[in-house]
Symmetry: C2
Subunit: 102 residues, 2 copies
């Protein structure tokens, strides 16, 4: 599996709009096992995105999907900046298909 933990800082006042675009875009992405969009509790402009994919190739391919390209274009003006991104190898747990089959 391939995982990403990212944070995005929205232009002030646009976090909800940005999150709505992110959430809207993530259905039907082949190989996506989990994609959670969350508000930071201490910074009112920050969004956290935690992703689990079957592999890196599926993630990379998703960036070319029409729905994702549209979301990137729509969300870009609402983004002030990106924080450090953590790349992970998810191993198991609860809420990803491999783990649910245990």
């Amino acid at each position: 599996m391939f995982g990403l933990i990212s944070n995005i800082t929205a232009v002030p006042g646009r976090r909800d709009d940005l999150m709505a675009i992110l959430i809207e875009s993530v259905s039907n992405m082949p190989g996506c096992l989990s994609y959670v969009v969350a508000k930071d509790l201490t910074n009112e402009d920050t969004v956290w995105v935690t992703e689990v994919w079957d592999n890196k190739a599926s993630h990379d391919a998703s960036l070319s999907l029409p729905s994702v390209r549209k979301a990137i274009a729509a969300g870009k003006p609402m983004i002030k900046g990106f924080g450090n991104q953590v790349i992970t190898t998810p191993v198991g747990g609860y809420g990803v298909p491999v783990a649910q089959a245990r």
Copy 2:
């Protein structure tokens, strides 16, 4: 929803053992919607845990479950330290029940 993004640094050489304990302990936690255990790609001792719960009370209550108390006791000697923990409010996405029902 209530979310946590945490990282734990294992005692050198014990990351796999620690991850196995974490993964083993997370089945049947009431209110847990997602609990992903992942390896950091750049630090061979670091584990990332990303959690989604229906609410904070369910998370807090899980710490008293026999399976979780047992895991904490078993894992403690394998832990070197904890990084900063991020508390979030998950809003939607893919892979949590609310989003899957969309």
